[in-house]
Amino acid sequence: MFQVYDLYLLGPELSLTLLALVVILVDLFIKRFIVTTIVAFVGLLLPLGILISQAASLDFSQPHRAFYGMLVVDPYAIFFGFIFLFIAFMMILMSYRYIQKYVRSGAEFYTLLLFSITGMMLMASTGELISIYISYELASIPLYVMAGLLRTGERSAEAAIKYVLLGAMSSAILLYGFALLYGLTGTTDLMGIAAAIRTGVAPGNPLLMVASVLILAGFGFKISAVPFHMWAPDIYEGSPTVSTAFFSVGSKSAGFAALIRVFIDGGLGQVNYTSLLIIFCIVAILTMTFGNIVAAVQTNVKRLMAYSSIAQAGYILTGVIASLSDKNTNGISASLFFIAVYVVTNLGAFSGIIALANATGGERLEDFRGLARRSPLVAACTALCLLSLAGIPPLAGFMSKVFIFTAVWNQGLGWLVVIALLNTVVSLVYYGNIVRSMYFDAPPKPDYFRPSPTIATSITVATAGLLVLFFGAQLLLAVADPSAGSLLAFLIGK
């Protein structure tokens, strides 16, 4: 039965959609970009408020479902809701000056951003294949467009067309996977699928596994897992840097949100656990290793960040692996923690890149030379973010790595941890390389630039966030674990 109450559960997404429309309308009538920005930024408080009220008021002993179980409001969804709203806030802060300088259709950028955020939130909170697919497209299509928004850019247009072609491909394969899953179980509801697999699918069923592979490929595209990652470097490089930042955090966390939801909530690991584990391990190891090794030889920082994000996806995948056997929350908790930290960190790092791009237009490694002299704040914060990505304490990245590896180790996958740890050594090379450029090398020009207030805010917030998440890791973990637990509640049999 449809109830009005369901709309409350859909509130954040609804209000976001509304906000997107308001933004485009405001732009239509008031041709002042600053106003649009302020509207978008302030408007975000509405979904945030609703989300907070949901988080505060709902009793999560049972997941809250609406629209016949298609919308699932559980701590997991809310957790990601906060992440995506955080991304939205940060993106608006980061992109204001950059958009003015480099991006055409500034207001539309925000609109698309907000729509995409809506799609992403839905990806995390829908519990049914059709809805997930539609949300996936809602999240993706704005991304394709955002890739092509650079004002002066053949590269940007090229990135956009590459992105859309590959994106369409990936959604086709994802759909095929969904179709097969539907064919196997006769339902598109994740709970139903899980129940069907648990009781009806015999071990050794190849269809389930092939469907899993296809779904993994589809979401693997979103999270840029090897070998489905190949779009990432080109599109990161060609797109406007603000879009790149958004791809690196939004697309990836949404991809993981849906991936984890489908695989865990859908119970795909209930039979043929070993096979699925091996497949995931192969993908995870390839992802980490490839991402790290290739990142180590990059000279374009955006491209480097693309490979870095690939590698980071590999680490998160290990956390997913730890929970695949569906009976424990630690892997997912760790993954959630990792994702949250990754989002904060990457946003911070990209703030630095954008700040530099705003000032000089450069985004190659040599453009970072001597940044510490030219803008100490940006350099310091960027360096901290990069070191956090590399996993150096006292930054949250360290905690997230230790935590995820601990969780994986706990599942008896010590060898995977060792491989991942070895990978972190390689990762240190390229993150350190940027730090090296900023701090060790002499600046090309002995000038000083001051980042715009919005960028300064965003980069400071991100850096402060890293420290807060480090010292207050317990707080986030305390949230992440029930989130993960809510996902597993059904399977564990609560």
Partner: protein, 182 residues
């Protein structure tokens, strides 16, 4: 072999044949026309599968709108020799063959050896979204309508709403992309 099967085979052969033409022809316009045939034949298949509504939608959207869109795009992106080789293939074609074959083969293998529609034991389903008791509608279209919009019975209203936003986004996106530089 009953009539349905016979029809299926006929439609399927045309479908596959025209699909091959789409990917095989050297003239992009010819390919586009073959694509229309593909879409139409797919609609035929839907009809054979008792999916009249989808068949109609297929004709309207694919054979109609999408094909027109493609043809417009073709015209707008006209290259010098549209007649002779406007639709070349790249040097990876052999890899394409192998990979498509492999993907298809694995899917086919998996899908044919596995049972379908395994029934969950009702006790296993902790959550009862499906248990709405609605009367079976008289025909396919009504049924689909019910499934899409019904506020009382099980319906896919949420994806439907999202889909509307997707369309809006697509419109905005297409406009933003297509707009000339300021």
């Amino acid at each position: 072999m009953d009539l349905a099967t016979l029809l299926f085979w006929i439609v399927a052969v045309i479908l596959v044949g025209s699909a091959l033409l789409v990917v095989g022809l050297n003239n992009i316009v010819h390919s586009a026309l073959a694509l229309v045939v593909v879409f139409a034949m797919a609609a035929g298949i839907y009809l054979l599968a008792n999916a009249e509504f989808i068949a109609i939608v297929q004709i309207l959207i694919y054979a109609g709108a999408v094909t027109i869109l493609i043809l417009f795009a073709l015209m707008l992106t006209r290259t010098v020799n549209i007649q002779t080789n406007s639709n070349p293939i790249n040097k990876y074609w052999w890899l394409g063959v192998i990979i498509s074959a492999l993907v298809g083969a694995t899917i086919l293998f998996a899908v044919t050896v596995s049972p379908h529609f395994v029934t969950p034991a009702s006790s296993a389903l902790g959550y009862s979204a499906h248990n709405s008791t609605c009367p079976l509608p008289p025909n396919n279209v009504v049924y689909i309508g019910n499934l899409l919009y019904s506020p009382t019975c099980y319906s896919y209203v949420l994806p439907f709403e999202i889909a509307s936003v997707v369309l809006l986004v697509a419109i905005i996106g297409a406009i933003v992309i297509g707009r000339e530089e300021e």
